[in-house]
Subunit: 106 residues, 2 copies
């Protein structure tokens, strides 16, 4: 049975997303780069970002973004796909993600 | 000689302020409350904020805000006065502090 091979990934409901988690998640240049790549190119699997960090560090960054409500992750075959929740976030914190990305030089 | 009784307080130049430090500093409800009180009431000494946190925790919060370039602190007699650098910050990160404060429910 392929279902149940993975622990289901937890995603906060948008009204449970905490501003402190969003700010901490975006206070890192690698995580901002992930968000910028998702904005530019749309959904993509974890292994395709070409970032020069170790797999465990990369997993940590994706987990931070997921727990902060900034991305959703779902498993498709052997790939874990990442998708942005910026439209949802924007209903809760209008303009926040854009303003942070505009402020960061990276 | 009253001068030299304190170690001079370090303040980053505005062009050295790091976005990551600003985001971490504002990812805390007590620190946001300090900023909101300074916006509402202007400069005030550390001991007058009426926050229910220990003196050491309060010192930590003020230090985080100072190192992130959000406040300046200077000693006047026996008091340490806090003053906002939001106008300066706004030249470097337009709208960032306001957008974060508007996003936070506290």
């Amino acid at each position: 049975m392929p279902l149940g091979r993975w622990t289901p990934l937890r995603h906060p409901e948008i009204d449970q997303v905490a501003i402190d988690d969003v700010l901490h998640a975006l206070a890192d240049p690698t995580r901002r780069r992930i968000v910028r790549m998702l904005i530019a190119d749309g959904d993509r699997p974890c292994g395709t970002f070409g970032l020069e960090v170790s797999p465990s560090t990369l997993s940590h960054h994706f987990r931070s973004l997921r727990k902060a409500g900034i991305i959703r992750q779902f498993d498709s075959g052997r790939q874990r796909i990442n998708t942005l929740r910026v439209a949802e976030l924007d209903t809760r914190f209008p303009g926040l993600v854009d303003t942070i990305l505009d402020s960061a030089p990276d």
